[in-house]
Symmetry: C2
Subunit: 343 residues, 2 copies
DNA sequence: CGCGTTGATGTAATCGATTCCACGAGGAGG
DNA sequence: CCTCCTCGTGGAATCGATTACATCAACGCG
């Protein structure tokens, strides 16, 4: 590989001058600049980002640790994160935790070893010492989607309370009274919050949420299948299953189908997270849509603010209900029935 | 951040000794080793990967440039690549080209600047000078899924010929005679090959593929929608639409649905690439499944072979047909009808 | 008992950039 | 005409690791 020295020799100047040209330092003569640029072009020189990072202590790289790449929600999040980061001059390294805390730790560790400028995390658990130490030690960090309570790190997330209330009202209006939920892991905030929001919304309708109607899932399809089978085995099965993410909804659909039951005639289904495929499933699935792209972009902006010395802000955006046919009754349109969520 | 110097001071040895302990160099006394390890633990020291890379000229990092992260096929590919790479001691940096050559170039450039040890590419086009030069200059490289003819780079891919033949035979048996295809970009090998395979298979059944039954797509959903609309506008629309990837199939489904037509009664649909959602669409979609995980793992192994001085091998794995209901007639089971593909 | 070998360790060069500092030339101001 | 800035430039230190080479002690062997 050609280095700055080769360029300096070719242009007949010192490495310092080459560096100045490359970094657009003002005091370089037009003549020297031209010669350096010519040498760069002639040699096809590209600066070594590794050496540059070592010297400047900046990598212009963000780390993104997500819970599961195979989940379309996180894929879209990752995409918007990369897009915004690129626009701001940063690269992104994605680590896939696969909902496994030890894998999450592995990625956080390697990202820190690489001296990334900042870390975007959607925590899989309550936070390992490693991550907490890093936050405390001053590594720029922002939580996105999920967060860890009691840690002084900005959070960018969607608030699903309003949309869940809309969903429950919708279900109640359709005559459903026995509603069940497949929850996410209790160690995640989204795992807990969605159950809480659901319980509160039920209470507003005068319904309660018995333990047997709470299935324990882990945000993966297989757990959705298992939880749904358990519901169907109950003496009095629920009339509705609400899956706390899209993969568990897929599993639930599997389970219902395997018993030869129909949605929504035999049992209704709804999901948190909306994805393009939900329009074409049989039946189309009623879901709560998060402003995923906005979340990703806001998270990057907050993190870059923090990195570049500005004060980062936490952001909460509303989610909204998208009614389709999986809960019964044909909706008039594809558009959301209402959007009561507060910002 | 604490550096190797701090550790040396704390342990009362030189930096060379610390480095030797960390790299498991044999000639270090048990006593020194213990003191260094204690100092490392006490200070919470972690080696700076940037400095290490500069010195050793290895980053233990692979670059993966894929055409579209939002495509579940590539997501799964990316996941298996990361998994295998991690098992072999490498990290992966993913670049999403979004089917745009200039974005692909951007990612290749930044990855090369970072001095990744090797590059895995699924090219979006015929290959920019940048990529071709890198390959020629000796950057370890492997093509996965798609490739660029005439370049001396190993290729890991699936061969869909057998499966396409099975598909066409299946369609012919069901009585379909007017078959159309939504092709991918002509600049990609997969874009061309799938059309060719389809044409050949049709010929074997005594059918031909008129130009009006070839829709030009770009592997994105919107193009699938447009192409399908054009088919439906024909005086004699096709009886079957075969989409060359899963996203265009989604678009095709949109278009068919928007006209109030039914699949498969009014028009049959099949897709290249199988994804979990195809089981639950309405109707379940007949597709050609690639051994995605195997492809990703084989690609990483080939690339690492190349990096570590062993001879890399090209790999071609067979794809297989998965029959569902979208082409008519209820299949007996979920399992493939046949698997005639050659390896 | 002396010499060569082996093992443990430290010193310093090195990777490829950035940047502080010194220096010389040229222009402005008194 | 002298002094003082400013501008352009090069030399050299630096970032945090790895590693070639030198050094020194201890040990084995004839």
């Amino acid at each position: 590989m050609t280095s700055i020295k080769d360029v300096a020799a070719e242009a007949g100047v010192s490495v310092a001058t080459v560096s100045r040209v490359l970094n657009e330092h003002p005091s370089v003569s037009a003549d020297a600049r031209a010669r350096v640029l010519a040498a760069v072009a002639a040699l096809g020189y590209r600066p070594n980002a590794v050496a540059r990072s070592l010297r400047t202590d900046q990598t212009h790289t963000l780390g993104l640790v997500i819970s599961d790449v195979l989940n379309p929600y996180f894929t879209e999040l990752a995409r918007s994160v990369e897009e915004e980061a690129r626009a701001l001059g940063y690269s992104v390294i994605i680590g896939n935790a696969d909902e496994r805390p030890e894998l999450q730790d592995h990625h956080v560790r390697t990202l820190l070893d690489r001296r990334i400028d900042g870390l975007l995390v959607s925590p899989t658990d309550g936070g390992s010492p490693l991550m907490l130490d890093a936050a405390r030690a001053g590594t720029p960090m922002v939580f996105v989607d999920r967060w860890i309570p009691g840690v002084d790190v900005p959070v960018v997330r969607a608030d699903g309370r309003g949309a869940v209330r809309d969903l429950v009202a919708h279900l109640h209006r359709l005559g459903h009274r026995r509603l069940a939920i497949i929850a996410g892991p209790a160690a995640t905030t989204t795992g807990q919050e969605r159950v809480e929001a659901f319980r509160e919304a039920l209470a507003e309708c005068g319904l309660d949420l018995p333990d047997r109607y709470i299935g324990q899932g882990d945000f993966q399809a297989a757990s959705g299948r298992r939880a749904t089978e358990r519901f169907l085995d109950l003496a009095e099965p629920p009339q509705v299953v609400f899956a706390a993410d899209n993969l568990m909804a897929l599993g639930a659909l599997d389970a219902v189908r395997a018993r030869g039951l129909r949605v929504p005639e035999d049992i209704a289904l709804a999901a948190f997270d909306d994805i393009p495929w939900f329009v074409h499933t049989d039946p189309p699935i009623t879901a709560i849509a998060q402003p995923t792209g906005e979340l990703g972009r806001a998270a990057v902006r907050a993190l870059v603010d923090r990195i570049e010395g500005r004060a980062p802000r936490s952001v909460t955006l509303p989610a909204r209900l998208v009614v389709r046919r999986s809960c019964g009754e044909s909706p008039v349109t594809e558009t959301p029935v209402t959007n009561r969520s507060q910002s």
